[in-house]
Assembly symmetry: C2
Homo-oligomer: 719 residues x 2
């Protein structure tokens, strides 16, 4: 009977969590199956002792109440004294000073404000499993790590484990508008319900904070970089304060976007000139008002003089003058200015690729120390694949931060499974050859090679009101991977895929490695059916949904023709010295190799070279044939993903299986659409047949060109 | 041990459903506590036999699989034969013809296509609990009723029970735009994810169909009446078809809004003149295309020549000519035209109140038989309280349908608890004196007094992407009440509140009657703090959020001043013969009584009369004093709701308790805001002190006037 009892209970546990709609993310705790881990965990969780009291410890307790009953079938028990009833110790180094040795204190101190140490501590003949940080937030990070290790059923409670973040500011950039639309958002609408704030606190805000803290994200910018000044009004700051109060115990600071022209729009001034004293006074007053409500406010994120946004150029001032004026206002409160390097003027430069370096290299050393320049991973705009941005390594005395795009604006939006970990790893591992010959983007970002103290990795959020947060279940893996890489830019994307998939589907899921396989191959597949061999910016206009290699008219550098330059003579953008010479913005070691179309990695070929259709590639194939093979391979890969997924039908819960299954079918259609549209279009220039090895592109080019999507998500439609 | 086992199981059942986020609506099945009902249900559900096969029976089975395991702790068992293993019979009258008597067949036949009968049937010495309809949909309705009766723990399986709807078309009107914004929607965004359709079917679509079917809603119009013609394009019809396919087994037909100018926008014609043969051909082709995809398509909902929407007037044609042209296109497929009576022209009429009657009375008898005129409950626009629309009873040979607004555009939107059942009951029970002296609005709507066969009740949906569907948990009660009143317009709102609250919170909840008490009193409270004594249309401009009695400028009948006409001489809109004489559009019996400010029900006083501030009311109070007392009472009522709710803290689950608790606090603030703003404003005309009995209005009128909400939900902001 007793066995039946537990059998039933177990069955019921399973049943009761069957409705897996993805809301719980990677915090979807489940019952631990490995007996040894389960019983050890059960023992430690029966005597949890906190060495202090503070809101972050309350957050730890809240998390334990959620996790532990599900993991081990029993509620956590809190010890009333540190010795007799305690089995697990939680606290800061200072709080535990009396029970740990000096060496260990030193070891922990070196982990910094956000690091943690965990392991067994022997004290007066008894072992206490302990999690210690230098600050409470370190303890929280440690507890999340512990829960993850237990959940993945790989913990050894006898071993010591410590970690600390390599990047200081690990930030989500929401491109959320105040009317709850999200620019380039594909998971519904903004989770910030401004209208109901401050009176109504959606429980989702807390789950959002939990999820971020669990992967080490410690900063969020709540509003769109194409900002509305309204967010800086007192009534909105009152709303922001509520969010900041919720996020604080989770170690998350709030940032806001600052519209450069706010002094005019909100302050009634006639100018926003950064050197005007009234303008400076306006910002000082605003900043003071904000800090009064939010004493740990993070600072401003600014997009200025880019794509029509206002900025210092209107007044003949440069980016440094603009940023420094805001920095002065924020400095007394230790606030930061995060100034975006994604700039290009109304007048079209010869090559948009060069714009950021042209504007920011001359300003090197001129920015105040509480300013960070936030640089997109590549020089164009979050294309499916881009070589790293040439600003990395080009400046010496300027704080540079990385901006990745988690939301899949150009990578299938919410209908495609594209794991971005591999792509980001590729960027971070890219050798910059500056400042040191061994330098990589990661070593610049985390300050290793630059000595930069104020470090930043920002990701443009893919989060919305969809129940599963990210629209596509696998979009969660990109949120997760971003957080993990911001914490440690040297992590391998395979390891991250392993972690995420195990936490999401369970470590013992038979076939979990198949899921990881799909993830690892998904980015290359998407690049193949979208923009192989260095092609870029050939998507549909405005909404960026689907292929649009024929897009022309209007501003040149917003068209596809500008970027692919296909003609009877060949295809590709010449950025060598015979062309725009953007290559020259990279280190000479790179410029030299990449200048040669026979030596450049072929994934970047058409990014830098305009080549004839019969140019011979390493494979011996002509350029035309290689292009067609890549597009065809992309489609085949997407089909293989579906096939692999369907082999998991009986091991994955029905709701999530079906969700991904439907989306993978859409992905195949969209991959075919990309292939057919692009190849039929390029064929009109190449004037060559499709090779027999590939599936012949179907359909009519005019039909593909006729498709229109005025209500595609992520944009503000005009109607 | 066995007891412990069940005790634990029971405990676990409770635990496992603790996270009550409101998604499950009134279908939030829970364990049955009454032993007799539980065991009887257990018995019947162990031998369910379907007399036939069809998709609606699959839907029944789906529902049973959801409900029964939770209700009785055991899965349903399906019988393989109708006699031996069967204990419950489900099927249509025809399917069961061999096992039921002729009298009973007759009785069931009289219940019509959608009616159901349930009860015990004796056959060859054995009793079968049976649910029988004339069509499968009747069986589904019967099953939902059965589950509700069991859930409310009030069923007697020995008794017979039958019911059938009194109104033929019971419809939700979604005001959802194709970009997923919702006009006057306060629960997030449109649940129709057009972009991902047809490839991706959100499980929510099925839950939506279940919820509607469970209360008898059998029609939905998917798109906004301020329609975009795009919905009629083939690519969108392909998406609509997927929804229609999902809804069909649940007895729900899909309707679309038709933009009158679509022949120009989509067809490339130069005119949309309904008498133009190319225009007629355009619509015939469109309709044919739609029916090819959706053979049971319901028809079109049309807003024409109103608030700037295109219509037949542009071509010198009248509403009948416009509607009949569409009706001709739809007639071969038995499709309907639902033509809205909410019309007013660009030129301001003397009194907007009169517009619909002026336009539609002369057209009586001129509409085709597949046209229904959909009339809002009152003549202005869904104000907190309106007298019934004078079109009801004014026409003899025109199909009239009712349009209620479920979404609380003018009634607190999603931050206020306002149960609308009481208000709708008030409207439906209103005596029209036409066509019979005993006629009521309900008797016109359901055809009792008119002989009208094609009957309709439509409700403007309050549904959005919010997890709990309606923003405010109690918004669900309005969706529920609408469905129930559409099914039976004679139901009492108290009974409906009882049903909904029991299904939502559990029939055995101690204090359930307190919840019902809040509901029943909530509409009167809102009217008191918003628009007492017949005041109307004094809300904020455009977004309609909060008070705006000072709104002036622009089109006169979009201002507040136009409606309240406050001045030193008094307040109110004179619609008697000395004023606009709109009263004359009602039956003489009404016009006579309501013309007299001493006889008219005081709730309509200022709707029809302009009266001096010292006019004496039945209470003996002056008009000024009575107005202040009403506003003050509204605030006090809202405070009492919170107090009552908080007395339930320990009996309601934490998540829903906290949700409503937060919103009731907001409601009090908003009630105070209404009271303070309106009384301070009206005082500037009344020039009298506030009576000492009331809480003195606080704040500064200029401050209230300065508040602005450009990002309020439910509108398209301009920025």
């Amino acid at each position: 009977m007793k066995n039946l009892f537990y059998a039933f209970l177990f069955f019921f546990c399973i049943q009761s969590v069957q409705a897996k709609d993805g809301y719980d993310l990677w915090l979807d705790y489940s019952s631990i199956k490995t007996p040894a881990i389960r019983s050890e965990a059960e023992s430690f969780f029966s005597g949890i002792y906190f060495f202090g009291k503070n809101p972050t410890y309350n957050a730890i307790q809240f998390e334990m109440e959620k996790a532990i009953p599900i993991m081990i079938g029993k509620s956590p028990i809190y010890a009333t004294d540190r010795i007799n009833s305690a089995k697990m110790w939680l606290g800061t180094r200072e709080e535990l000073a009396q029970v740990i040795g000096l060496d260990q204190q030193m070891e922990i101190k070196n982990l910094g404000d956000e690091g943690y140490w965990m392991g067994p501590i022997e004290f007066q003949g008894k072992t206490y499993f302990s999690i210690i940080g230098n600050k409470p937030i370190g303890v929280l990070y440690g507890v999340f790590r512990l829960l993850q290790e237990i959940q993945r059923e790989q913990i050894d409670f006898k071993e010591e484990l410590s970690d600390s973040p390599k990047v200081k500011i690990r930030m989500l950039n929401h491109w959320d508008n105040l009317d709850r639309t999200v620019e380039r958002g594909y998971a519904g609408f903004s989770i910030w319900d401004w209208h109901k704030l401050p009176g109504y606190v959606d429980p989702r805000y807390i789950d959002y904070a939990r999820a971020n803290a669990s992967i080490g994200i410690n900063a969020v910018s709540l509003t769109n970089v194409n900002a509305n000044a309204w967010i800086l009004r007192p009534d909105f700051i009152e709303k922001v304060k509520v969010l900041a109060d919720i996020f604080r115990p989770y170690g998350i600071k709030v940032y806001l976007t600052a519209r450069f022209s706010a002094p005019i729009e909100l302050g009634g001034l006639e100018t926003a000139d950064p050197l005007n004293s009234e303008v400076a006074a306006f910002w000082k007053e605003k900043v003071g008002m904000i800090y009064k409500a939010i004493p740990d406010f993070g600072g401003f994120v600014v997009k200025a003089n880019s794509e029509g946004q206002p900025g210092p150029h209107e007044y003949g001032r440069n980016h440094a003058e603009g940023a420094n004026m805001l920095a002065d206002a924020l400095a007394p409160y230790k606030g930061l200015v995060i100034w975006r390097a994604f700039v290009y003027s109304h007048e079209i430069d010869e090559d948009r690729h060069k714009q950021a370096n042209l504007e920011f290299e001359p300003l090197d050393g001129k920015f105040k120390e509480n300013v960070i320049i936030q640089v997109k991973n590549g020089a164009i705009d979050f294309q499916p694949r881009e070589p790293f941005h040439p600003l990395f390594g080009a400046v010496k005395s300027t704080n540079l931060g990385m901006e990745f795009q988690i939301t899949q604006e150009y990578l299938g939006q919410a209908t495609q499974l594209v794991y971005l970990g591999t792509f980001w790893e590729e960027v971070l591992k890219s050798n910059t050859y500056r400042p040191k010959s061994s330098s990589t983007v990661a070593k610049i970002i985390d300050g290793t090679d630059t000595g930069q103290k104020l470090t930043l990795m920002a990701g443009v959020s893919n989060i919305g009101t969809d129940r599963n947060w990210t629209g596509h279940l696998f979009g969660q893996s990109n949120w997760y991977a971003f957080g993990r890489l911001a914490w440690d830019p040297y992590l391998s994307s395979e390891k991250i895929a392993e972690e995420w998939s195990e936490l999401t589907f369970g470590p013992k899921l038979s076939g979990i490695e198949k899921i990881q396989g799909i993830m690892i191959n998904s980015h290359e597949a998407a690049v193949n059916y979208m923009t192989p061999l260095g092609l870029h910016h050939i998507m549909g206009r405005s909404h960026h949904y689907g292929p649009g290699p024929w897009v022309e008219g209007g501003r040149a550098d917003w068209t596809s023709l500008y970027y692919h330059r296909a003609g009877s003579d060949g295809i590709g953008f010449d950025r060598t010295s015979s062309g725009s010479n953007a290559l020259n913005q990279y280190a000479p070691e790179i410029a030299e190799v990449w200048s040669d179309p026979k030596k450049i990695p072929e994934k970047y070929l058409l990014w830098f070279h305009h080549l004839p259709w019969d140019f011979e590639l390493k494979s011996g194939n002509s350029l035309w044939k290689e292009i067609t093979l890549h597009y065809d391979q992309g489609v085949k890969s997407s089909r293989s993903f579906l096939q692999t997924w369907q082999s998991l039908e009986n091991v994955i819960d029905e709701e999530r299986f079906d969700h991904v299954n439907q989306l993978l079918k859409i992905q195949i259609k969209e991959a075919e659409w990309w292939r057919n549209a692009c190849l039929l279009y390029f064929q009109t220039f190449a004037d060559r047949p499709f090779p027999s090895e590939i599936e012949q592109p179907e359909g009519d080019l005019e039909y593909y060109k006729s498709l229109s999507f005025p209500f595609a998500p992520g944009i503000k439609p005009n109607w």
